[in-house]
Symmetry: C2
Subunit: 157 residues, 2 copies
Amino acid sequence: MSEHAPLELEHFLPYRLSVLSNTISQEIARDYQQRFDLSVTEWRVMAVLARFESLSARDVAQRTAMDKVAVSRALARLVESGRVIRRTHAGDKRKSILRLSARGWKIHATVAPLARAHEAQLLAKLDVAERTWLQRILDKLEVGSPIILSARRASDA
Amino acid sequence: MSEHAPLELEHFLPYRLSVLSNTISQEIARDYQQRFDLSVTEWRVMAVLARFESLSARDVAQRTAMDKVAVSRALARLVESGRVIRRTHAGDKRKSILRLSARGWKIHATVAPLARAHEAQLLAKLDVAERTWLQRILDKLEVGSPIILSARRASDA
DNA sequence: GTAACATAGTTACAAATGAAACCATTTGCA
DNA sequence: TGCAAATGGTTTCATTTGTAACTATGTTAC
């Protein structure tokens, strides 16, 4: 068995994950991208702001696993378009305090169910056992990953 | 139960896949990116050319799930750097015939085991049952996906 | 108190990417 | 045949993204 037999891309896990994930993300994005003029990163920022009140940009970056520049740019657009309200932290003038505006909440109320529907459609391809295993497998694969998503909730801080 | 309760990004499947996949791809890429001055798309092109002799650019695009512009650009660099040899198809002058050069093969011989090692390290997080389920789950999730990776081999054509 | 360091966030520039237009060639068909 | 449509591939231009440097504020240690 050769050490460097050609790589079979279609059976190579990292590659399969990459293609699958890109396909899914694009499909979901298609549904809100033009409709709301909202990029994927912008939507992700909105999603965490919907879930946790009054985060700073840095908090958003951690929770979305995006880097701070991407967050800064997404926020610039979101504030500009009146979907996010930005105040300055009273005790630390470097920090911002972010929350969705009424308009932001309204968009969230449309897009969130839409995203959930896509997920449901995806999970519909699996039976109950497979779904359970998938959760478990993802949990394990994420372990030791540089990004810690399951960080404590804002309320725990 | 509210219809638009905030989306919990860290439990949202499309998002988890996206972060996981990006993390993995980046980790692997880090190992060859600077070392060989090779981008992820370039490596993917090389991987299919290692597996299937004499593909056209279009074939490569299909097999890598990349679009033809990305392939064209990757090939331009690979040919330029002498890693890929490009001839014109005898019967159809629009088509190219592509294969790895000796130099290309040499790089492949280094990078392929490296990529495989990363995959092995990833799979080491799972036990045998989980791996089996993962294969099965990915197969199912890929069904109906716009991209058909399991296209026939070159030799079947 | 202040000099060195750390942190929050933005800006500037280069490189990567995507969409559309564009050649050249080949195919379909009247 | 000959002309419209299709195909393989490249180029162009605008947008996105990533990296590094930067500003401003805050913290630490002397």
